[in-house]
Structure formats: structure tokens, C-alpha cells
């Protein structure tokens, strides 16, 4: 039985390409990426990052000031774009605050605040500085808590933290809460911000590239880390709505293979894509474009390529948008879900930026330059450490 499609009645993104969907749309169409040499804090790493401008000058003030940290600043910036917060407030008027759920993905939340606090430990006692609030900054739930309070929502809320699939899985969790009758609408989102833990952590595993990341390229040698916030408002689809973009399906799986390496033949990724198609009641041939996870590490792309070929063959157009934004980790799912909505709404396939010489051993049909064409259904893939996989399907209501 296919799932009941869920209407995406509002969506927004802030990432290195800029604030709001218009900035991403115009960059994706013009072919202008946003990666730059790492200039974050005192990180001395030969790598490139997708950094959001202006967070240093956008503190959280007023009654939510305790939440002030880079990650929640990014969340605040995201909620303020594209009239998203206003759309949610209008939904709150009609459904009631306690009937709207909040489902936010993040991998590291505000850990940067803890990193900074550890540098400022008391030289005599080793104690952390008084001003450091673990609960409202570093803790995983902080960003979901902030989102609830900023929007005045009191429905079911949780932070999903499954590494790089976090903000893809929020769609599945929100769908289930809607179906179970625990809420009538849901704010889903993902927020992850630059920090030294991920920059040095991925570096320690040899997974960061010294160049801008090149997904599917023969010379690809690692990822570029980015930061982003994205949100979407989900509602049950009114019977007469045939125009809106919807979540058509989702598929989740586990690799059960290794903590930080993907299954060599993409077994878990294959299952996630197959389950997504089954939950949407669609065949592979009905998918017009696949937004790949495409991190540009040699093993990730090779694994995903095998999975895509197994499920779709070699004809479905694919690209990774990590070359534009960097890998935004726990925010990658929502960022690329928003890109999927933009592709459907505006009719285009983003190219795989920085990919110059596609790896001849990889067989998926990689789109190198952005092309304008009508798009009905998009699959978006998100896979993470711990072997956690999630594939989503977006499109207009099936006839």
C-alpha cells in the first residue's frame, strides 16, 4: 500500500549559496558554487568549506538568549527566510499550537560552544566557564527546543540525530506522527553548523579533500564540509489539491556493516531506494532525477553508484549538489529535499558542480551542467555513519 502523500506547503533553506530559496535557485541555475578555502575559527586544515555568511553578527537575543550559539543562529536565520515562520504561525492559528509537531535533524547541534568552553577552562580547577549552557547549546535537542519555542509550537517534538541521514529521516518520523494522529501538521528541518569536531574528525579519517569536492569524478578524493539550515511545513493533502509538491515516499535501512565505511556494494542504499519506491507505489522508471548523497569520497560514491545502477539502471539523470554547498551533514537531507522541490517547481536538474572527468568505473548517468527540463518526481538520497540510510521521493500528486 502506498503512503498517503503529504503536502509540503512551505519550505526554505540557508546554506553557503545564500539566504532563502531564491539565492540557491539562482546559484544552481547560473552555475556558481560557494565553497571556499577553510577559514573557520583557528582550523589549520587544507580543505574547502561551505560557510554561511553573517552568523557572527546574528545573535539570539531576548527571552531565548540562552540558546545563542552558531547552530541556533543558523536555525533562526533559516526560520526567518521565505516567510517560513509566518506560514507556520498561520498554520498554528488554524490547527492549534499543540497539534503541530517539530522534527529537526542535526548531527553535532551546538558542540562548537562546548569546544570553545573547553578552551576557557579555569586554569586552576579545570572547570568550564560559568556562561556555558550545555542544555541550550551543545545538547542534541537544543535546536529542536529552540525551533519549538521560536515558533510557539507545543506538539510532539524530537531531534533526530543519525549523522548524515538525520534531516532526511525527519520526513519519515513526521509522516508516522501525522498518520498516528499525534499531530495535524509538522515542521521538519535540519540544522548543522561548522565546528572543529567535524572538520578535524573527518580529517582524522582521511575523508576531507584538499580541493573543492568532486562527486563521481575519477580524481575525487574526499568531501568538503558545509553548514546549512532548512525547514519544511508538512500537512495532510486536501483532496482537491493537485498542484502542490508532496512527499510521495520514504525508505529507510541500515547497512549493518561498518561504523564509518559504507557497504562496498551499496546493499543498504539499495534497500532504502527500493523501500522508498515501494512506499510511493512508483517504479524506478517514473523517477526523473536522483539527487545523490554523493559526498565525493572514493568509497561512498562507488557504493552509491552500485546501488543506483541496481535499482535504476544507467539512464536516470543523477547529480550530487555537494559541490555547490559542501556536505552539510545533519542538514544535508533537508537541504537536498528543498533542492528537489525547487527542481520540480522550476523545472531543472542541477549539474554536479566540480565534476570534470566522471569516473569511468561508475555507471550512473551523471549530469555535469545544470539543464532546464520539466521534472515530475525526484529521489533524494542521504546516507550516514553507522550505516544509516534514507531515500525520499518528492513530486506532485500522482494521477
Amino acid at each position: 500500500m502506498p503512503i498517503d502523500p503529504v503536502l509540503i506547503s512551505a519550505y526554505t533553506t540557508v546554506n553557503a549559496l545564500g539566504r532563502g530559496v531564491a539565492a540557491s535557485l539562482s546559484a544552481l541555475r547560473r552555475g556558481e558554487g560557494a565553497l571556499r578555502r577553510c577559514d573557520f575559527d583557528d582550523a589549520l586544515l587544507e580543505t574547502w568549506i561551505g560557510r554561511v555568511e553573517g552568523l557572527e553578527d546574528a545573535p539570539i537575543t531576548g527571552e531565548l538568549a540562552a540558546f545563542d550559539c552558531r547552530n541556533n543562529r543558523l536555525a533562526q536565520l533559516g526560520l526567518n527566510q521565505d516567510g517560513f515562520a509566518e506560514r507556520v504561525l498561520a498554520a498554528r492559528e488554524s490547527y492549534g499550537a499543540e497539534r503541530i509537531g517539530v522534527f529537526i535533524g542535526t548531527s553535532t547541534s551546538g558542540i562548537l560552544e562546548a569546544e570553545l568552553a573547553y578552551r576557557q577552562r579555569d586554569p586552576a580547577t579545570g572547570a568550564l566557564p560559568e556562561g556555558f549552557s550545555y542544555r541550550y547549546t551543545h545538547n542534541v535537542f537544543s535546536v529542536a527546543d529552540f525551533t519549538c519555542r521560536r515558533l510557539g509550537l507545543t506538539g510532539p517534538a524530537l531531534a533526530i540525530s543519525t549523522a548524515c541521514s538525520s534531516s532526511a529521516k525527519v520526513f519519515a518520523s513526521a509522516y508516522r506522527h501525522l498518520q498516528a494522529g499525534l499531530c495535524d501538521a509538522a515542521v521538519v528541518g535540519g540544522v548543522d553548523s561548522l565546528c572543529l569536531t567535524t572538520l578535524y574528525g573527518f580529517n582524522s579519517l582521511g575523508l576531507t579533500s584538499a580541493q573543492p569536492c568532486r562527486p563521481w569524478d575519477a580524481d575525487r578524493n574526499g568531501l568538503s564540509i558545509g553548514e546549512a539550515a532548512g525547514f519544511a511545513l508538512l500537512e495532510r493533502t486536501p483532496a482537491d489539491n493537485t498542484e502542490g509538491i508532496m512527499l510521495l515516499g520514504y525508505g529507510e535501512s541500515s547497512d549493518a556493516y561498518h561504523m564509518s565505511s559504507p557497504h562496498p556494494h551499496g546493499a543498504g542504499a539499495t534497500l532504502a531506494m527500493q523501500r522508498a519506491l515501494a512506499s510511493a507505489g512508483l517504479t524506478a522508471a517514473q523517477v526523473d532525477y536522483i539527487n545523490l548523497h554523493g559526498t565525493a569520497t572514493p568509497s561512498n560514491d562507488a557504493s552509491e553508484d552500485q546501488a543506483v545502477i541496481r535499482v535504476f539502471g544507467t539512464r536516470t539523470p543523477c547529480s550530487s549538489t555537494k559541490g555547490w554547498t559542501g556536505h552539510t551533514l545533519g542538514a544535508a537531507g533537508i537541504t537536498e529535499a528543498v533542492f528537489a522541490c525547487l527542481c520540480i517547481e522550476h523545472g531543472f536538474i542541477p549539474g554536479s558542480l566540480n565534476t570534470q572527468r566522471p569516473d569511468s568505473r561508475l555507471l550512473a548517468h551523471i549530469v555535469l551542467a545544470t539543464q532546464e527540463q520539466s521534472i515530475g518526481v525526484v529521489m533524494s538520497n542521504s546516507f550516514g555513519f553507522g550505516g544509516t540510510n534514507c531515500s525520499l521521493l518528492f513530486g506532485r500528486k500522482p494521477p
Binding site: A43, V140, T154, T197, G201, S254, G387
Partner: protein, 263 residues
């Protein structure tokens, strides 16, 4: 929401060494005495993975294994939900300390163990289970949020779901900012249908009209309030008593979960 069934239980905490012993304590036929956790192992895992595990991961694997032992469902078919307020504080501490040093020598093993879904990753490897797994936090209300998520999975996906709630105290200096009383973890195997292994039937609803249940015995109440995963204890007590009970668990923003537990 429709009913779900508890078909397996695991418990591990100070003086609570497994479900059978914990059930006797919770229904009052055995005296509770605080004792530190025994040394935990991770025998489920292949040797190369076992070497990389932390106390938190071992705690999780032990309760998960206990809940699955009597199960009449294949472990490879079971979904999983992992609920923890803050994950592995000790690993976070090690990474933050490393980042204060000039070369910032973050250990790759600490880094992959630092993800909130690290225990979930090890569990799926140990169980060779490719079913969906979700790791979440709702700070002090993570058990209730996990129970809701697991319940929606049981009812919407028509799947058996292993819910694991766990929290492990941090050490200095983080302990001054996040103080947990003792390690505690519980695992519930939840299913859409009654089986011969069913220990309880649960009906879960949301309310804002009630106040959370407390435990009569002071040392257990201290554990309940001192570890978010131990907020589950009133529910475990109701199951242990084996008669119909209405349990009120704390949830977000002055809301509560009503769990109607019946044999």
C-alpha cells in the same frame, strides 16, 4: 492510537541487573539496594568492532540483547529506536579536550563513536539487521519521545520495534553542566500483535491535564529523576505488577503521556 504489545524487556542500572530482578524489586517482592554496574562486555560484536566500543555502547547492547532473548520474532526483521538525552558524554569530553591541544588530535575512533547513532550502528552490526533504525533526543523527555516514535512505527509500519532508552553520566568537567546520577538503560520490544511472549498491552495518548507518576521508594525515585532513561521506571513497575495501571510519564512543555498498561 491503537494498542501495542510489550514482547520483551531489558533493564540495566545500579542494583537493577536485568528484567527479572528489576521486576521483583519494582513490584516490591525484593529489596532494592544500590550497587554499581557490573563490568559490561560486548560479546555480540565481532572482535574488531568490540575493541572500539565504549561503556555506553556496551550498556545499550546488553539491554537490547536481553529484550530480544525471549522474542518470537527474528531480530533481522525488527526496527529500532534509540533514545538518549545526550549520547556518549565521555567521547564528547575526549574530543573537546583534544581540540584544546595545538595539533587538535581528534581520534578517528572517538569521532565515529561521537555520533548520536553510534550505539544504533553497533546494534545493527551485532544483529546483522538492515531494518530502519532511528536515534533521537528530547533532552530529559527522551524516553517519552522514543516511546511515541516507536509506537508510531509499530502502528504505521506494522513492524516490531526495539526501543532502547539509555543515558550514562558524564565526567568532570562536563558533569558540572550536565549532572546525571547513575547509568541506566532499558529496552522494550514492541509489536503490533499479542504473542505468547507478550508481557503487557499498552495504549499511549497525549495530555496536558496530569502530573507525572513518581516512585514510592526514595532510592528508586532518585534514579528516576537522575537519569532521563529511568523516567521509564513507573511504566516498568506497572508491567511488573501485572495488573491494569494507568501510568503518567512526563513529556515536553508541561505535557504528559498517558500509558494504559494491562496484562
Amino acid at each position: 492510537m491503537k494498542a501495542l504489545y510489550v514482547n520483551g524487556i531489558g533493564v540495566l542500572g545500579p542494583g537493577l541487573g536485568g528484567w527479572r530482578e528489576s521486576a521483583a524489586i519494582l513490584k516490591g517482592t525484593r529489596v532494592y539496594r544500590y550497587e554499581p554496574l557490573p563490568t559490561l562486555t560486548a560479546n555480540l560484536l565481532p572482535a574488531n568492532e568490540r575493541r572500539r566500543t565504549t561503556q555506553v555502547i556496551k550498556l545499550v547492547l546488553n539491554v537490547a540483547q536481553e529484550a530480544m532473548e525471549p522474542a518470537d520474532v527474528e531480530v533481522q526483521r525488527v526496527y529500532s529506536v534509540f533514545a538518549s538525552s545526550g549520547g556518549d558524554y565521555e567521547v564528547m569530553d575526549k574530543i573537546c579536550m583534544a581540540l584544546t591541544l595545538a595539533e587538535k588530535p581528534v581520534s578517528p575512533i572517538h569521532f565515529h563513536n561521537s555520533v548520536h547513532n553510534a550505539p544504533a550502528g553497533y546494534w545493527t552490526i551485532a544483529a546483522t539487521c538492515s531494518m530502519p533504525s532511528l536515534s533521537l533526543s528530547a533532552y530529559d523527555h527522551s524516553f517519552s519521545a522514543g516511546l511515541l516514535e516507536a509506537a508510531t512505527q509499530v502502528l504505521v509500519e506494522r513492524a516490531s520495534v526495539l526501543l532502547v532508552a539509555y543515558d550514562y553520566p558524564s565526567t568532570f568537567p562536563l558533569a558540572e553542566k550536565r549532572c546525571l546520577y547513575a547509568p541506566f538503560a532499558t529496552a522494550l520490544l514492541l509489536s503490533p500483535a499479542r504473542t505468547t511472549q507478550s508481557q503487557a498491552k499498552l495504549m499511549v495518548t497525549l495530555t496536558s491535564q496530569d502530573t507525572e507518576d513518581r516512585l514510592d521508594e526514595a532510592p528508586l525515585e532518585r534514579l528516576r529523576t537522575g537519569n532521563p532513561a529511568a523516567r521509564s521506571l513507573p511504566l516498568l513497575q506497572a508491567i511488573a505488577r501485572g495488573s491494569a495501571h494507568r501510568v503518567i510519564l512526563p513529556y515536553l512543555a508541561n505535557r504528559q503521556l498517558i500509558v494504559e498498561a494491562a496484562p
